[in-house]
């Protein structure tokens, strides 16, 4: 069963005083199955961020549809949008986006509190997640006191705590060193192993090589996709590199 269906998505930006139009997405169509781990790759300016913003319901497409579990995103009222996002989507960002006025614990709990959860439930939901992500000891610390990798794991915990249908990750390894990157990718693989659907936008071949499927975007279109199949991470890595080489050297669409 597909959890996310994207069909013929198009996005045109118009400059404020009319005139210039920039086509960010021309025609994007793909689906994500439940429990899948999808990576979206592409160069700067390929439309990755626009796509993610539309999927996150932060932006609206010019044409085309996005269905989350059969529900059309553009059909949701503006006033309900934030609630919908909070309940169905989890976000992980490159820059962590943790609030430095909150402790690690409060950062994780924020979405639950915003959802109006009872104070008594909070602890029960927090502990298992904190434990599985290895940040249980850090809960009382503040973001400025922990490392980048720990911050990103906090952000993952924050995304997971509401049991979202889909996690959207925007360059999650972008600000991490190689060891933290490995740790985070292991975390993603683990939660994906537990059935969590993940959609990740990334530059990093290494990050993409952990996914079960990799989509390549160029000039606002899905240019190519690779399924993991039986490949190991290394083999997938090789395939992705080849594709990227092709992309940059200007190969025609197959």
């Amino acid at each position: 069963m597909s959890i996310l269906e994207v069909s013929n998505l198009q996005k045109v930006y118009t400059t404020r005083f009319g005139g210039n139009k920039v086509q960010a997405l021309s025609n994007v169509t793909f689906t994500v199955e439940k429990g899948e781990y999808v990576a979206i790759m592409g160069e700067s300016g390929s439309g990755k961020t626009t796509l993610l913003n539309i999927l996150a319901a932060l932006d609206r497409p010019t044409a085309g549809k996005v269905l989350l579990e059969g529900k059309e995103l553009s059909g949701i009222k503006e006033s309900e949008m934030a609630t919908f996002r909070r309940e169905n989507l989890g976000f992980v960002f490159q820059e962590f986006n943790l609030l430095d006025t909150f402790s690690i614990k409060d950062n994780i709990l924020l979405p639950l509190v915003l959802n109006g959860a009872k104070p008594s439930e909070l602890e029960d939901k927090l502990m298992p997640i904190a434990e599985s992500l290895g940040i249980k000891e850090l809960l009382t610390k503040f973001p400025y006191e922990v490392s980048g990798g720990q911050k990103q794991r906090t952000a993952v915990a924050r995304a997971l705590i509401t049991n979202p249908k889909l996690i959207l990750a925007d360059e999650p390894t972008g600000a991490l060193d190689s060891k933290s990157t490995d740790d985070l990718l292991r975390v993603f693989r683990d939660i994906n192993g537990l059935g969590q659907t993940i959609l990740m936008v990334t530059h990093s071949t290494k990050a993409a090589s952990h996914a079960s499927r990799v989509l390549f975007i160029r000039d606002g279109e899905v240019f190519h996709q690779i399924y993991r199949g039986d490949s190991t991470n290394e083999q997938l890595y090789q395939k992705i590199s080849d594709t990227l080489t092709l992309l940059t050297t200007g190969g025609e669409k197959r």
Binding site: L58, S79, M81, A82, T83, R85, R86, L89, F91, F93, N97, L98, L99, D100, T101, F102, D106, L109, L110, P111, V113, L114, G116, A117, P119, L122, F142, P143, Y144, R158
Partner: protein
């Protein structure tokens, strides 16, 4: 060549940073203008000559000192804020290859341009304002407007030099900071994450202690006499307490809230509480300053407005509830040569007969076209007295810091005859009976406070009936409880005074502590005399001088060698000269209150504005994260507005609480200044609070706009 480049860079920097520089220049302009106005007011000879203008120079001189101190603080404050905001920019120049002295050169030009701009604007505004002030003062003092443009290079130069020096000092301080910083530090981003504020327990305790002590003093001050030293003690304690509590108390309170899980983990509270915690860390000093400045404005304006608007009521009260137009008062003289020796005698020999006094009065007022209509004598004795087991004892005051014994009351005693005359009563007292009446608000039921039999130096009296209100204003406010006592006859009054002082073995005090004789004079043609009776000096009128000369001449005739004691009536007070005196004094105070309040308001506006800007940049990031995490724009705006409103109202609420607590002690202070009634003061205070809140709101609105522009 290079200098030209730096100059152009400095110009464009100021333009680019207009959000920071405009308030900086405006505040500087305002301060310069007010300083110039005060300096000129204090020295303008024309003002001294107008009716009631005698008090302006001395009162303005006090104001100059306050404005100067505040100006230094504000100039350094805006400067340090500007420097903080622009450190990164300077760092960038350094990284791009400018030497520090080049950066310093740019900084110098920026400073020079803004300083010259604000000095020119300040002096210009000051001159316009001076003209306005003169009009306002003349209006206030009820005199003809003085025309003409008044300007002295001396005061312009003094103002320019004073402010140029302040800004030079600020520039030098910036240079030191610049020299110390390394480019990497200059560039280091502000987003490094701030440490969570720690609860400062000691400071919290100090804050609670000082504020509590200050409030306690303000609330428990009983005697008006002690109100002055107590008021200043309380002010200092409350200022310390306010700063300490804003710094430590707010953090402790918010942390307590955070510890309460049921409260904290709610949508509305979680973000507000933790954000406020950080806001408090950055802004506690600013907010506490606003609270203090606001209290200052409210106190100054409410008291001065009350005094000024109460002038007529005070005059009325002073002259037998408007029954008289003039008051001649005096005391019997004693021939005491060596205090304490047995040469102390009671030879109060000749006195000026009433007819003679009346004649002299008529002689003088007649020259001005007025006529004596009635002439009535009121004899009274007034002192603070303490009763122990019914035995009265005079409380002697050696200084204003004397602590009055418990139960001290202030009394004014007069014979039945005089009482019946001025109160239009037909009271009859039995022998050795004393009638009484409470004359101040703090005075209670004397019958309950004293035993039914009281004695004055052995002579016993019984406390009799409660009598009518006695319309005699007390000349000094010493004790809180003030009573009128009516004794059966003049002989009783003389006896009591004698007995009270006989106990004191030859004290030199009593020359001043005797029965006072007051003649209340009603005139026909008050208007005429008020207009033609010219000002001599300091609120005194010519007629007073003439009267003095007449009395002197008469006494010379009576007692050529000056060896005898005499009954001296030399105090010539008239309703018109009192009006000039009070209008001059209260009007100048009121005017000073307005000018100082303006400065305080500048300071408040500046602090709020800079606070909004610095918070705006911090909040922008937080605002964006919250929306990414799943808050609607509306919710986010709601939380931010709520926090801002709390931060905004906190100083105002603090100021109002301070004012409420200070109210009783200020009321007692005003008693010393002959404030006529409490209702007027209450009204003035309430109106001032409302007016201030409105102005504060406007300042907030204007600055909040900048804030929202940054956040969006």
């Amino acid at each position: 060549m290079k200098l030209g480049l730096f100059f152009r860079l400095a110009c464009s920097n100021i333009k680019k940073n207009h959000q920071l520089y405009i308030p900086h220049i405006l505040a500087g302009t305002g301060l310069t203008a007010i300083f110039y106005v005060m300096l000129t007011l204090a020295n303008d000879q024309r003002l001294r000559k107008i009716k009631g203008g005698y008090a302006i120079p001395s009162i303005m001189s006090i104001g100059i000192a306050v404005v100067a101190i505040l100006s230094v603080i504000l100039v350094l404050f805006t400067n340090s804020f500007l420097m903080k905001q622009r450190t990164r920019e300077y760092g960038m120049y350094n990284v791009l290859g400018m030497e520090k002295r080049h950066v310093g050169c740019i900084m110098f030009f920026e400073n020079a341009i803004s300083t010259v701009a604000l000095l020119v604007a300040g002096i210009f505004c000051g001159m316009l304002m001076y003209k306005l002030c003169c009009l306002f003062i003349c209006k206030m003092l009820n005199v003809e407007t003085i025309l003409g443009f008044y300007m002295r290079t001396e005061y312009v130069l003094k103002t320019v030099i004073a402010f140029a020096a302040m800004y030079l000092l600020a520039f030098l301080w910036n240079c030191i900071r610049l020299a110390r910083l390394r480019p990497v530090e200059l560039l280091a981003s502000a987003g490094a994450g701030e440490k969570e504020p720690k609860t400062k327990w000691i400071m919290l305790l100090i804050g609670l202690g000082t504020l509590g002590a200050g409030y306690f003093i303000a609330l428990t001050t009983e005697s008006p006499l002690k109100a002055i030293p107590d008021f200043f003690k309380a002010v200092i304690l409350v200022i310390i307490g306010t700063y300490a509590l804003f710094l430590a108390g707010s953090v402790a309170f918010l942390k307590l809230l955070r510890r309460n899980k049921g409260f904290y983990y709610r949508r509305k509270n979680m973000i507000a509480v933790s954000d406020l915690l950080y806001r408090m860390k950055q802004n506690a000093v600013g907010l506490a300053s606003i609270a203090i400045l606001a209290t200052g404005v409210i106190v100054m304006i409410s008291t001065t407005v009350c005094l000024y608007t109460g002038t007529e009521a005070t005059i009325k009260k002073y002259f037998l509830e408007g029954e008289a137009d003039m008051l001649l008062s005096g005391r019997y003289g004693y021939d005491v040569e060596v205090p304490g020796s047995d040469r102390e005698t009671e030879r109060h020999i000749e006195s000026i007969p009433e007819e003679k006094l009346r004649e002299m009065t008529q002689q003088i007022v007649g020259r001005y076209g007025a006529e004596v209509e009635s002439f009535q004598l009121v004899r009274s004795y007034s002192d603070p007295i303490c009763f122990t087991d019914g035995e009265a004892e005079v409380v002697k005051l050696r200084s204003t810091l004397t602590t009055l014994p418990k139960g001290t009351i202030e009394v004014i005693m007069l014979p039945l005859e005089d009482y019946n005359r001025i109160c239009k009563d037909t009271l009859v007292l039995k022998e050795n009976e004393i009638g009484w009446v409470a004359l101040s608000e703090e005075a209670g039921d004397l019958a309950k406070e004293l035993p039914s039999e009281i004695s004055f130096g052995g002579k016993k009296y019984t406390l009799g009936p409660e009598v009518k209100h006695i319309p005699l204003m007390r000349s000094e406010a010493i004790a809180a409880g003030y009573y009128g006592l009516v004794v059966p006859a003049m002989e009783d009054l003389d006896g009591i005074v004698k007995n009270l002082f006989r106990k004191e073995n030859g004290a030199s005090w009593y020359y001043y502590n005797q029965t006072s004789y007051r003649y209340y004079v009603r005139l026909k043609g008050v208007k005429e005399i008020a207009e033609s009776d010219a000002m001599a000096e300091y609120g005194r009128r010519e007629s007073a001088d003439e009267f003095e000369k007449l009395v002197e001449a008469y006494l010379k005739e009576l007692d050529p060698d000056g060896k005898k004691g005499y009954f001296e009536v030399s105090n010539w007070e008239t309703s018109w000269s009192l009006r000039d005196e009070l209008l001059g004094m209260y009007g100048s105070l009121f005017f000073l209150g307005i000018l100082l309040s303006l400065v305080f308001l500048f300071a408040t506006a500046l602090i709020i504005y800079y606070k909004q800007i610095s918070e705006g940049y911090d909040d922008r990031g937080r605002f964006q994260i919250l929306q990414k995490v799943g808050m609607t724009q509306k919710e986010t705006k709601g939380t931010i507005r709520r926090q801002i409103v709390i931060v905004f109202f906190l100083p105002l609420v603090t100021a109002v609480i301070h004012m409420i607590v200070a109210y009783p002690v200020i009321r007692k202070l005003l008693l010393l200044l002959m404030m006529p009634n409490d209702k007027l003061f209450l009204l003035c205070t309430a109106l001032t609070v409302v007016a201030f809140a409105l102005i504060y709101m406007v300042i907030y609105r204007l600055t909040a706009r900048t804030y929202y522009r940054i956040v969006r």
